[in-house]
Amino acid sequence: MQRRFLSSISGTAGNSKTLNQGRWSVKQVKKSNFHVTLDEIRTSIESSDFIALSLQNTGSYAAAWHRVSAIDTPQTSYLKAKYAAERYQIFQFALCPFSLQGSKLTVHPYNFHLFPRDELKCGMPSYSFSCQASRLTSMAREGFDFNTCIYEGISYLSRAQESASKYLSGNPILANPITVSSSPASVADTVFVGRIRSRVKNWRQSCIDSGSKTGDDDLVSSLRRLVLGSEQYGSRLCLTIDVCSERQVQLILEMLTEFSEDVVPLLVASKSRGTQAVRTVFMSSKEDKDLFKREIQDLENKENRRVRGFREVIDLISSSQKPVISQNYLSDLTSIHAKFLGPLPANVDDFSSSLSSAFPNVVDLSQFMKEISPLSNISNLPAAMSSLNRFFAPVDVEVANQGCPVKLSENYQSHGQNAVMISQLFAKLSAIQKSDLSTVQSNEDSQDLASDEHTSFVISKNTGNENVKVWSKNSRRVSSENLVFIWGFAKKLTAAKLKNFLQKSHPVFTQEFDVKYLDRSCAIVVFWESGPSETFLSAVNNEEQLSGSLREMVAEGLRAAGYETYKRACRLGFWEADLAESLDKTLDSSDTEHDSDTKPSEINWSNDLAINFDEL
């Protein structure tokens, strides 16, 4: 009864109040109903054109300056996002495959509850994770059910972890084909190989014999088996060769290529790690061999599917190659990469290429939004939605996967609304954009929309020089060379007072410049022209040039550094609570580690890269 009531609301809400923050019925997926829902999700994804997603993490940034801000280059933004993605955990993953036809938006909203369960007792998917107390408190206020999440959350393994876990399941696995022969063999190696070869030869011969001579009685065949150490693997004959090192495994596998026609090697993993033994299995025919390999592969797949858990959904999204719509491109996608694909690479380019191999099309909604309505802030979805009120672009929402098999309270259903709103916002933006372009291009269906128009918003790499956009409101591009970080003030000053002090301290400050605090410990000075920043830096660091009030300030503890130092702090991972402390540490460490990547020769960065232009 209640359910019907709810769904009728969502049905009508779509028609009448298009932009209202609708309360759609979102299917809640937990450990218990995950596997039954999987087929439904597959169908939803296949029948949709786009996939909107929204994550709820246990934290976002630990200190004010860890937040991605306007002064960040793509690389530093990425490093900040990486740091957060590696530490925090995804508790909820809202997924909304949708399709758009004219003004009709068909959505299939799901909300997954996730929790990393160390099922193999080996620190996977994660050994531990960080929680931000304030984040948990605000989640609690929104009615988040932590018990459901922790008791019934779906676990997962990333792609990288899954391949590592193969060895832990205890099932024998097919050895990878040998590509190149390893380092030159020593005498001991040759002896070892020779011994094993003759053993395998004898065993194989006996297998062939027993295959042809069916007349042997049981006693004889079992005696022969005993003598040769032959065993059975399923219905097939096999031989287990114990090994002491990975080197020996390598040697055996190399040697076994001689018998590849009818002998298939399997690796038996030991409890701790590494390989315990090589098991050679005798194949009666070529067909038998193919069959056997398939069997083993199936067994492996079944096991993998079990440990993979929620990642199955990520794989579905990835293999569908449908455009993914995300609200917070950087933080969402780094989290997804870290949890479900593999460890995050050290720089943003490698990340982009690694990501695009799994998700070739990612639409950054905030970027799209900026094109249409430059002043809107996307971080608040309902507000962003209402800011588009001035455009006439009706969107009718229809929830396609009505009705939850699990009876849930109304409160439950509120989770995962964000993904629906993202799809709604996307639909609206598309409609607005289409009406703008309608003079040029007449009717086109949403499929085209996906392929052509949005490519400009899909994150791509452009080369450009290293500029940084400073101050969100009256944005102006400045080269990162013109930025100077200063910290270590004797007392707490407001930005205006600090500016006053600086103006009196050194001649470079007669030119136009600006001062802003990045956190409570450190401020940034922006020169609008190139040159003064270097003059100032060398003045602060050179004792002879110091004079007057600047000398006094330095004596009181003032320090200054250029943008390079900031970048290095991010790269070296000095994520202290205060930026000042991080910069201090970086300056201290610079003497010992003069390595190549101190000067990243050129940073490729797209002007469109997603940066949340929050006020500093």
């Binding site: 200190a63 160390d118 620190g123 050994y127 931000q132 609690a140 018990n147 790690r273």
Partner: protein, 689 residues
């Protein structure tokens, strides 16, 4: 009257039981009379419970405590290892206490009731959560969760919702001091700001200029309306762009005022500067109401002195509100303060980690060394007794345990079977045991179902029971002792008080009185830590045995005593003597700096393969453990902490000790290489005997 007041709390406790347990256990909740009575305490009943608890602790003979945390080790190698010296062990405990959060705190005061010849216990189960209650400049609070620990808590149906929604927050003493200082500073700054800062704001943007003009007109209208009577519309919702800005005439501290709503902080600053420039008798006041919602007013003052008064009042009020907020944010620490000020004997089970948590959460940051910790903890908790020590160290008790495990639950069932099954049988054997009743909300009870859930309150109760029973076995006659006798000063217990297991697996005991982990007293340390080398980032497929072989090939078969894995990525190599440690590190350095046939063919090259292998002495291990970073793999940790540089050429901090021996040693190492080239793989000369 008092009784009546207590009633509502009881169903509350039940509702926690049932909400914590899933549908399965709702049947047991129905038969709640038989469930173990436990006082659950959350935000809502904290203040009243605290008042009752004060009296209970004051009257108690001892107080048992137990903690539930979100995790124990932040990385696998942070677990207690065989080769951990006591200072390293302390660092590991410190790391754990700093990173993980306490989610439940069990406090159970025990009082000897001479009337019934039994102990009365009052088990309290506090839900604790480090919620950030103070808004001004909060140090972002983060804690770690270990997935296996969370699973463990979930297995025992820990109620995370109650903990996070309803958990009691806290401030440590240090945090309270800092918050007060910050408040003081804010207060001071404000005084300076009001002097001349307001005029500083320059209106540069057109929007600001227009806004200022509009505000000026609006305020002017309002003011003249006030002064010349006339019925000016008191509410003037804003017209343009449907914004939420609105003003309303109200009274603020007996003065007519205009309440401002929906303005941005920048707009408020503009208004403030307009007031400063054009209206001498209007004052901008910013204040927080009880719900800490900020409110903004423009207040009309009659004269200059009235204006000053108003400013002063407003400032005082803000300060008062701030102080009140800090007071209420102290939260659960009041319980700790109570335990500390009453100087009662604190009883825990294997409780060093618990005490470290108490220190770091409620006193201040943990000191850097065990010695400093000991020096400081004593002033807060002068008497702590660990039942695990009692059971293992006292021969008589040890025997009584009949070699069963001394884990909390098994110690409880072997020492206190009468309580576990709450059997009041006439069995004479059971009769000699100490009788313990439970009293919650003034209802005394001596019968309950066995098998309490794994909750801090119940665990604290078990710990206290074990202690009471152990005292009884030690020949302690409670009947003879009057209330005034301090259990903590009793000579029978003296040997055990203030001694805690620093590491249970290693048997290291820390003595909180003298400040030394006097392992010598109980067990002789068998390791010479200067003989240990740490190797990490070697080819992952190498096993301990192979590493030992490689090193023995170089330094002689007797050079290495043993090799232990720290984790998959690192090993401890235990050399025969400390010279070999130095030889090994030097040789490694030389092999790395020279490329050529020597380094490729050398037996050590197997370990150095890949070029990332790091090695260092035990000092570096301590340094690695003291870092606040925790990488899952030890090799990643070592690289991140940057110990790498120590094994590279010219380690600056090692020159002191090694200056004089450098020459000799380098000769020795090059001899080694020569010898190796001369086809003498087993170089006996290089290993000093």
């Amino acid at each position: 009257m008092r009784r009546l007041k207590q009633w509502p709390l009881r169903p509350l406790a039940y509702s926690f039981c049932s909400s914590a347990a899933e549908a399965v256990s709702s049947s047991t909740a129905a038969a709640a009379t038989a469930a173990f009575p436990l006082k659950h305490v959350t935000r809502s009943n904290f203040e009243t419970t605290l008042n009752d608890l004060r009296a209970l602790v004051k009257a108690a003979d001892f107080v048992a405590i137990d903690l539930e945390m979100t995790g124990v080790t932040s990385a696998p190698w942070r677990d207690s290892l065989e080769f951990d010296r006591y200072d390293v062990r302390y660092l590991k405990v410190k790391d754990s206490a700093e990173k993980f959060a306490v989610v439940q705190f069990g406090v159970c005061p025990f009082r000897w009731d001479s009337r019934t010849h039994s102990f009365v216990s009052h088990p309290h189960n506090f839900f604790v959560f480090p919620r950030q209650e103070l808004t001004f400049d909060p140090p972002a609070h983060e804690f770690l969760c270990q997935t296996t620990s969370m699973d463990f808590l979930a297995k025992y149906q820990f109620d995370f919702n109650t903990c996070i929604h309803e958990g009691i927050s806290y401030l440590s003493r240090r945090q309270e001091e800092e918050a007060s200082q910050r408040l003081e500073r804010l207060h001071g700054e404000e005084r300076n700001d009001s002097s001349g800062e307001t005029e500083d704001l320059k209106l540069v943007r057109l929007a600001d200029v227009l806004f200022a003009e509009r505000m000026k007109n609006m305020l002017n209208d309002w003011r003249s309306g006030l002064l010349h009577g006339g019925n000016v519309s008191s509410e003037s919702p804003k017209i343009s762009n449907g914004s939420t800005q609105s003003t309303e005439t109200v009274f603020h501290h007996m003065r007519p005022a205009l309440s401002l709503k929906g303005f941005t902080s920048h707009q408020l600053r503009v208004i403030n500067s307009v007031l400063g420039k054009h209206f001498g008798d209007l004052v901008y006041i910013h204040s927080n109401d009880k719900n800490s919602c900020s409110q903004n007013f423009v207040v009309y003052t009659e004269s200059q002195s009235d204006k000053e008064n108003l400013m002063k009042e407003a400032k005082e009020e803000r300060k008062r509100v701030g102080e009140r907020k800090i007071q209420s944010a102290i939260g659960f620490r009041q319980v700790i303060d109570l335990l500390a000020s009453e100087q009662k004997l604190i009883v825990g089970h294997n409780c060093f980690l618990d005490i470290a948590h108490v220190y770091s959460k409620f006193v201040g940051p943990l000191p850097s060394t065990a010695e400093k910790f000991v020096a400081s903890i004593n002033s807060h908790f002068p008497y702590i007794v660990d039942t695990k020590i009692l059971l293992n160290v006292n021969p008589m008790l040890h025997q009584r345990m009949k070699k069963s495990s001394t884990s909390l639950s098994s110690a409880f069932s072997s020492l206190c079977p009468q309580i576990e099954f709450s059997s009041r049988s006439s069995d004479s054997f059971l009769q000699q045991r100490v009788k313990i009743d439970v009293e919650v909300d003034n209802i005394r009870c001596s019968n309950w179902n066995a098998g309490g859930k794994h909750e801090a309150g119940y665990d604290a109760f078990m710990t206290g029971c074990i202690f009471a029973q152990a005292c009884n076995h030690l020949g302690f006659d409670f009947k003879q002792h009057s209330q005034s006798d301090n259990l903590a000063r009793n000579e029978k217990l003296e040997k055990y008080i203030n001694r805690l297991y620093l590491s249970w697996t290693r048997g290291d005991i820390i003595d909180l009185r003298t400040g030394h982990s006097n392992a010598d007293n109980w067990r002789v340390s068998k390791f010479k830590y200067e003989n240990i080398v740490l190797i990490w980032n070697f080819p992952r497929k190498l096993k301990a045995r192979e590493i030992k072989e490689c090193i023995c090939k170089t330094f002689g078969s007797a050079s290495v005593i043993s090799v232990y894995h720290i984790d998959d990525s690192a090993v401890f190599v235990f050399f025969k003597n400390s010279e070999l440690v130095w030889d090994f590190l030097t040789l490694k350095r030389q092999l790395e700096s020279s490329d050529g046939p020597v380094s490729v063919l050398h037996p050590l090259s197997k370990i150095l393969e890949g070029g990332n292998t790091g090695a260092a002495d035990y000092k570096a291990y301590k340094e690695i453990c003291s870092s606040h970073i925790s990488k899952v793999l030890f090799s990643d940790q070592a690289e991140t902490v940057g110990v790498k540089s120590r094994t590279r050429p010219n380690p600056q901090d090692e020159t002191d000790r090694r200056e004089e021996s450098t020459d000799a040693v380098t000769h020795k190492a090059s001899d080694l290489i020569d010898a190796f080239l001369a086809d003498r793989v087993e170089v006996e000369t290089a290993t000093p005997t």
